[in-house]
């Protein structure tokens, strides 16, 4: 049963959703479709509205405006108890005075199941989350990671159509977190349950999600697969929030090229008018190192000479800080492979050239500017 269930039709549909707390608007005109079986992450800095959106979907805090359709049914104004979802909170909210078994069985009761059926289902779930022997313990006797799995087992016990995870991993230490995110993803694939997870940890989102919804200040900035979000950020916020991004003040020159000082670079198409002030952006790992004088020999106009100010060894690569007065006092950060450093004989203080590949160099209008990347 390990094959991935291919995304099917739209399961959850959010339309024109607004949420206001008094005069503060927490969600602005959100529309989003989630396909059946999909794993979606709401990603954004704290206060961006991601948890508010999740709670609106659950019916825990009703939206002010807009509709939520789940499985073809309009659930916009239904209370949580009349919707179909399981939820895991950051605190897990396990009932402290009930054993693990009873915690998991809590939702199975009063639904016409026999005692034997419930016991069997609890055992099945305990095995599913890898804690078959812990049923008789109390939550306080388990580690944080174990509690997290119990909360998950309780949430999926009734086979809900939608699984909601509200920062489920943020209370755990780093190692457990990495391990658990893999397990949750596996479990989700196995069950094929449509899942929405809220997180502020981009690594988590990139590793787990089929699609990421990047949010900021109550609006959706971009929706896309992890690679799309990373490689083709829709705007400067996404570019800056996900991964690392060098940002250099620049403006649009003739032919859509980017002018940095008197030098111009070819870049990805951006559709901005000549003269628009923009931020030229490139990720550290996309910077290609060359020896000094490469521009002369190759004629590659996307190269620029820099001084290697500082090198930091990070195990699998070198993080280098590169300076050039055209960068406006900013350092350009580049990650070079150990191989390249050795081949080019790079060391702190040396002069070198770098290439900013035209299919990796992006241009974004300065924040607050008019017109997004087309």
């Amino acid at each position: 049963m390990l094959q991935m269930i291919p995304p099917k039709e739209t399961y959850l549909s959010i339309r024109d959703l607004w949420k206001a707390f008094g005069s503060f608007i927490a969600l602005k005109d959100i529309s989003l479709d989630v396909k059946e079986g999909e794993f979606i992450c709401f990603l954004g800095p704290s206060g961006c509205g991601k948890t508010t959106l999740l709670r609106a979907i659950a019916g825990l805090d009703l939206q002010t405006k807009g509709t939520v359709t789940q499985g073809g049914q309009d659930v916009s104004n239904l209370p949580p108890s009349e919707r179909d979802f399981g939820i895991v909170f950051q605190s897990y909210a396990l009932f402290p005075n009930l054993t693990i078994e009873k915690n998991i069985a809590f939702g199975l009761e009063n639904a016409g199941r026999s005692k034997a059926e419930i016991t069997a289902r609890v055992r099945e779930l305990l095995e599913l989350v890898g804690l078959p022997d812990q049923g008789r313990k109390y939550p306080a006797q388990l580690s944080g990671g174990q509690q997290q799995r119990i909360a998950l087992a309780r949430a999926i016990a009734t086979n809900p159509g939608l699984l909601l995870l509200d920062e489920p991993l943020s209370a755990l230490d780093a190692k457990v977190r990495v391990h658990l995110r893999h397990e949750i993803k596996e479990l989700q694939r196995k069950l094929g349950v449509t899942t929405i997870m809220v997180t502020h940890d981009q690594e988590e989102a990139l590793a787990m999600a089929d699609r990421i919804v990047v949010m900021n200040h109550g609006v959706i900035e971009q929706v896309g697969s992890p690679t799309e979000i990373y490689r083709e950020p829709a705007n400067l916020f996404v570019a800056d929030f996900i991964g690392e991004m060098n940002q250099i003040g620049s403006s649009v020159a003739k032919g859509g090229r980017l002018a940095v000082g008197e030098k111009t670079f070819a870049c990805l198409p951006h559709g901005l008018a000549d003269g628009t002030p923009v931020i030229a952006a490139v990720r550290p790992e996309d910077v290609i190192p060359h020896e000094a004088g490469y521009l002369e020999t190759s004629g590659n106009r996307n190269c620029i000479d820099v001084q290697l100010a500082e090198m930091e060894f990070l195990g699998s690569f070198w993080r280098c800080r590169l300076t050039n007065k055209r960068f406006g006092g900013k350092e350009l950060i580049a990650d070079f492979s150990i191989n390249a450093v050795r081949r080019l004989g790079l060391e702190a203080g040396c002069q070198m050239e770098i290439e900013l590949p035209d299919n990796r160099l992006m241009a974004f209008p300065v924040a607050g500017g008019e017109g997004a990347k087309q």
């Binding site: 607004w18 206001a20 659950a58 104004n77 949580p80 809590f106 306080a140 006797q141 997004a372």
Partner: protein, 671 residues
């Protein structure tokens, strides 16, 4: 995508959530409990307030009279009551202002009146509001009524009800009454200063020294909570009364009056001040003391710059709590106040002694003002102390200091002797045959059935009341607190509920009891049926002690995960199942605390129920009061000690039961 063309919420109605069954159940229950508080608190208080503004006055100009000659013929001369009174000076102006039951005879208007004479009289009201009685028949119309002289002497004029400040005017123009304000304030302030100072050093010794037997001292300090406030009064009578054991120590001063009230007040308010100050001292931060020591501050300077400021909220809070307890207390000044009048006793005297309910209501309103002020300031201060608690601090560990530890031990022993001594005197008095003439031991004083006050039956009634209050009160209070803490939306309703729940703390027991008379003793009230039953005593006691119980429940509930209800809803389980299976078991320690608090207070309370008991529902605490009133002081002491032992036993059972239950139900707490 960053361009949001509109940042304004589109117009149109907001999404209105459909209420789930749970929402409806919870809101419904909350409304029921809120209604309970309205009926048991707000309505009675309103009835009392309106009573204090109700004035009754006989309007003489509303009556007209005619007198016949000896032959029974009327000559047509019509005289108003006002004219007749002006001519004969029968009634002074003050006689005309009267109470709801006021009646004025009319024969005084006619100096020649004789009930044997053949002269006939006619009387009528000039307005529809006029009323007079013939015998016990009320006459309201404006038609002339002709009466022979024998019937005419049975005519009585009835007053007209109006709204006004007259009651307050007459209160403040009667020095005997308004002097009580000064007396009450003076007594309360003095008792507060003494109690808070004594309790501070006691708490300081227990928290900041290494002296021995701290547990014993803590236990003794808490003992006064278990007895009615009037019991120390009885002990003081035995010690310093006219035939007191050591009355020479007073050098001729009388214990009956301010001295007795202050000493007794210190006794019964001591535990309250001690708990609050002790809590404040317990949370002080050791790092501040380390800093002070490293700066070479002298211990005295450290005390004034670190200790006292750290405990200042506790001190202020304790002061207002004690002030409130003393100014609203009724039992103690009743027993030992002598001729020294205070507000709480005035209410009792006006209502029970003089049947002047309107004046009782006026004194109540006067008493509520300082009580509410003290309460409001205390709440304000306590909300600040919570902020202090949340600081991340290192607990202070006292260092042994032989000299200081010895001084503190001596001090605590003195306080301990004071508290335990007064109780011992009561017990001793209860077992002596006839102080001071026959000092042989006997159990005669326990034959309560031979005394006023209801006998052993009142003791049984008290236990019934305490148990019912504990069970019903805990259920209502905890469930109410749960609903208000954990239900969703419904903000106005919840805010109102919170307000109602805080109100009882500000209302003195005497005021509450009197308010109940006005509200429940009204024949027009459908709830009139519970007047004079055990039910009204339970309702009154639960309401009287609602606030502290409510706050205990809220504190416990706030420590529960906010998302339990969300999880239960997502699992399609009713909230009430969650409440029964998780909330109550987890909060069981708080639930038990609330129940013992209600039990002990129901056993000792006097003030609210003194107006409400009936011959069938006499109570032990009231019996103490009544036996003392009747001069049976030794049996009063005996009954007071019965309350003490009952409460002590209840506390022990509570302790054992909670340990047992907690072991069973709280196994999850241990890792």
């Amino acid at each position: 995508m960053t361009d949001t063309a509109q940042d304004m919420l589109p117009s149109g109605p907001a999404v209105k959530g459909k209420l789930s069954r749970d929402d409806i159940i919870m809101r419904g229950s909350m409304i029921i409990i809120a209604l309970y508080l309205v009926v048991s608190l707000v309505f009675p208080l309103y009835a009392m307030l309106s009573k204090s503004f109700s004035t009754y006055r006989v309007e003489l100009s509303q009556y007209e009279f005619q007198v016949s000659n000896e032959a029974g013929r009327f000559d047509g001369t019509i005289l108003t009551g006002a004219e007749l009174n002006a001519r004969t000076n029968t009634f002074a102006d003050a006689d005309l202002s009267t109470g709801a039951d006021g009646r004025l005879p009319v024969t005084g208007f006619f100096p020649d009146f004789s009930f044997r004479s053949p002269v006939m009289y006619q009387i009528r009201n000039t307005t529809d509001t006029g009323r007079f009685l013939i015998g016990s028949n009320l006459q309201t119309g404006t038609d002339w009524v002709t009466l022979d002289s024998n019937t005419f002497r049975r005519v009585q004029l009835r007053p007209v009800k109006a709204q006004g400040l007259d009651n307050f005017v007459s209160y403040f123009s009667t020095p005997a009454l308004f002097n009580s304000i000064k007396n009450s304030l003076w007594i309360a302030v003095l008792s507060t200063v003494v109690t808070v100072s004594l309790a501070f050093w006691f708490a300081y010794a227990l928290n900041r020294s290494c002296m021995k037997y701290k547990g014993v001292f803590r236990l003794i300090a808490m003992a006064p909570i278990l007895v009615p406030s009037l019991l120390p009064g009885i002990a003081l009578v035995y010690l310093f009364g006219n035939q007191g054991m050591i009355k020479e120590l007073l050098f001729g001063a009388s214990i009956y009056g301010p001295i007795g009230i202050v000493i007794g007040s210190v006794f019964f308010t001591f535990p309250h001040a001690f708990i609050i100050i002790s809590t404040a001292l317990a949370i002080s931060d050791a790092r501040l003391y380390e800093a002070a020591a490293s700066l070479r501050s002298s211990p005295w300077r450290t005390f004034w710059t670190v200790t006292v400021p750290g405990a200042r909220y506790g001190l202020i809070s304790a002061a207002f709590v004690v002030f409130n307890l003393v100014i609203t207390d009724f039992g103690l000044p009743k027993v030992i106040g002598g001729q020294f009048n205070v507000l709480a006793v005035d209410i009792y005297k006006q209502v029970i002694g003089q049947q002047n309910f309107e004046m009782g209501a006026v004194v109540s309103v006067v008493l509520v003002i300082p009580a509410i002020l003290a309460f409001a300031i205390d709440r304000l201060v306590q909300s600040k102390q919570v902020a202090l608690l949340s600081a991340r601090s290192v607990p202070y560990e006292p260092q042994p200091n032989k000299k200081m530890d010895r001084i503190f031990f001596a001090y605590c022993t003195l306080i301990g002797i004071f508290i335990a001594g007064l109780l011992a005197v009561c017990q001793f008095a209860a077992l002596i045959k006839f102080w001071p003439y026959d000092l042989s031991l006997s159990l005669n004083n326990y034959q309560f059935d031979r005394m006023d006050g209801g006998g052993w039956g009142s003791y049984v009634n008290s236990i019934k009341l305490a148990l019912m209050t504990a069970v019903a009160g805990t259920a209502v209070v905890f469930f109410g607190a749960y609903l208000v803490e954990k239900s969703k939306g419904f903000r106005t309703g919840r805010a109102l509920f919170q307000m109602f729940a805080m109100l009882p703390m500000a209302i003195p027991g005497m005021v509450l009891g009197l308010a109940y008379i006005f509200f429940f003793n009204n024949p027009a009230n459908p709830l009139n049926a519970i007047y004079g039953t055990m039910a009204i005593l339970v309702v009154c006691t639960v309401t009287h002690f609602y606030t502290v119980s409510h706050l205990t429940a809220v504190t416990a509930l706030k420590q529960m995960d906010r998302e339990f209800e969300s999880v239960a809803a997502s699992l399609k389980q009713p909230t009430m199942k969650l409440f029964a299976r998780v909330t109550v078991p987890v909060c069981l320690p708080a639930v038990l605390d609330i129940s013992i608090y209600l039990f002990v207070n129901a056993m000792t309370t006097v003030s609210a129920v003194v107006f409400l008991y009936s011959p069938k529902t006499t109570l032990a605490s009231i019996a103490v009061l009544n036996m003392d009133d009747a001069g049976d002081i030794a049996p009063a002491a005996a009954m007071g000690m019965m309350i003490f032992y009952t409460n002590a036993l209840a506390r022990i059972i509570h302790l054992l039961a909670s340990r047992g239950i907690l072991k069973k139900t709280q196994a999850w707490r241990s890792r």
